[in-house]
Symmetry: C2
Subunit: 457 residues, 2 copies
Amino acid sequence: MTHADKAVELARGRHAAFLNQYAEMLRIPSVSTLPEHRDDMVRMAEWCAEELRRLGMTRVEINGTPGHPIVYAEWLNAPGKPTVLVYGHYDVQPVDPVHEWESAPFGADVRGEWIFARGASDMKGQFFAQMKALECLRDTDGAYPVNIKYLLEGEEEIGSINLPAFIDAHREQLACDVTLNCDAGMHAPDMPSITYSLRGLAYFEIELRAPGRDLHSGLFGGSVRNPIHVLAELIAGLHDAKGRVTLPGFYDRVRPLDDEERALLARVPWSEEEWLEITGAAALYGEEGYTTHERVGARPTLDVNGIWGGFTGEGAKTVLPARAWAKLSTRLVPDQRQGEIEGMLRAYLEANAPKGVEWTLKIHSLGPGAVMDRKSAYMQSAAAALEEVFGSPPLFKREGGSVPVVGLFQEKLGVDSIMLGFALPGDGIHGPNERQHLPTLFKGVEAYIRFLYRLGE
Amino acid sequence: MTHADKAVELARGRHAAFLNQYAEMLRIPSVSTLPEHRDDMVRMAEWCAEELRRLGMTRVEINGTPGHPIVYAEWLNAPGKPTVLVYGHYDVQPVDPVHEWESAPFGADVRGEWIFARGASDMKGQFFAQMKALECLRDTDGAYPVNIKYLLEGEEEIGSINLPAFIDAHREQLACDVTLNCDAGMHAPDMPSITYSLRGLAYFEIELRAPGRDLHSGLFGGSVRNPIHVLAELIAGLHDAKGRVTLPGFYDRVRPLDDEERALLARVPWSEEEWLEITGAAALYGEEGYTTHERVGARPTLDVNGIWGGFTGEGAKTVLPARAWAKLSTRLVPDQRQGEIEGMLRAYLEANAPKGVEWTLKIHSLGPGAVMDRKSAYMQSAAAALEEVFGSPPLFKREGGSVPVVGLFQEKLGVDSIMLGFALPGDGIHGPNERQHLPTLFKGVEAYIRFLYRLGE
């Protein structure tokens, strides 16, 4: 019986204790985007630091930033072994629409094999499982098989605003051989998978202004521009009938898929029925000429994430509004450049906003995409760990979501990230009733144990 | 000196008292569309009833309805004289965007020649001026020159939902020779005018549903329909490049303007500069081939009054929303039929909403437009009264707004409405900083005195 086997056995005996502690952290409403949760963000950072102290980290710091704190920790007593930088984020998305939740978003309600809470899957559950793996390794032989560093930020859901400067200022301290990024998932409970490609994100907000103030739509309707109409036209014009984004040059830098990679991706058993079930959509829709997996993983997309203007209360108000707004984001793939996308959007507004309508474009975040080396030794250790725990080799996937920090680590620390996490596609992250599959998370603890153990061999 | 001259003199001595009482009624926040103002609606109805009792009405009733109460009053002691039904509404629009008000929306702040309050112009000020005209007539000779009936409703801003049934149930009681509708205005402080044509209103709400729940726009964006995109396309498709509404059949029943009427309308001295100043717009825009006055007065229009969906808070949330909504209204001219418009809109959604997107269409209100006889004796009395008070004959105008009750009275009581009121185009009704020009309102009291006096001659 190896140390890893013993640590796994220990973990299996602690599920009830894990669940209690996990629920406790899920009850802290660490919503980074809402100012009213600022104190909760501090509480959550302190929770993380306290847990890292319990794990015997020899240095634990809560670093202030102009935004939310960054938690750093390290344990470097494994000379000659690789150094793994564990990345996670302790912030979560807002909970609206709150009335669509079946239990309180921060109640951590357990129903069947699932725990329901904002952040359960994205991603408190993931770094919690990673911490529990360390706990069991330590309780097995009093030390860790590799050197460990931790970087837990509180701004992932708002674009990791202060992370680049922090990394720049702490390059030495953060130096490592590989990053373990727990902000990841599997294809299905019985299908381990490793995401080796992530899309980038450029998130904007458009404001349109037409009349100088809100007007009566009866007295003035039909005589001046209605900014909602203009916004609708601008949004409608961003896609063509084939589902392609119309911004000139948008696809110019997109790296095409080769046959080998298309074949690899085709192995991931997404069925149309499954996708319909997960999304609840009545039909699939996307760019012509690509499979759904390719559409979300290897092709850039553009989505309006929010729109508002005029009267949105109950009943009727006959207003011709002065302003209208939209939040809009593009998911970018290698080798698109986020800065260029902003220029394309400005040029589009310049060319298409009609006379008499003013606009402003605000940037919420810009982050690059990333593709990792599928064949590295670290990647192979992760694959072997997953096979050991789940009984089958992992699928290799490209994912539609963005983890800007993966690109950041490539750029600033020169290391790849191993995306190893135990979320599932139907977890409802960012939506109501977010959940985490508990049996999968408990297996995740085992996979983290075996992965770290393999890295130290 | 006639009785009318004496009553006018009396009115001129009471401006300060009028202003106090006017401000008092403006401080009651009678917003009909918001459930939290239900008690204020009752208070406002009671204020009206109390004032009508003070005016010596021999019967004053507050009639309950499934919505807000209808105030009825009468004084029928002028045998052989015409019976005038005075119409008004005591409800007001909501105040949002509230942060754009420079003084409290229900504070009734007086600055210069203006009083600022929601409802000051639309239309508490107007029926208040009419009541003060009666007060001065009564205080002059203890009686009124004509028989008077009052009908004050509390649901005009939400489509007069319960008024048709009330009229049906009280046809005898409401019988009259002519209606005096105070929900009206003038072209400028020195340019009296009479509106003889109003547009109808059909107000709808569209809900679109695409995925079954809110999704993560990175993981799922580009693979299913985004209902905001679909809504934008549907809205963009409602107008063509010439500013015309594209609904098939929309213009089929529109009564064309003849040369005589176009010439009459052209006398109203709207300048493009004035319109730009009132609206605050940088440019005018509307249906090709028509003047601005024709566009808002004689042509049907369609405006989206509100739109919302997805994340609309501060910051960024990468959601692919499950739903999107729009409030949309059409202003109708004779002889369009509001029921047909609903059918056209349904057919449009049926034909253009893509597969995988469900929609529902909700009706908020449907009301006909109306054109009145410009040459009737009642209209001529109103014109003479205005000329007497303002020193010049009134302009005859078509107006873009809707006063559904005008069509209702034509249909159910068989009488025309004299639209006589003292709002001004720049009053900002339905928007922030609604105001009423006080010198114009005080002249309005005089005009009401002279109009009623002439009717009784």
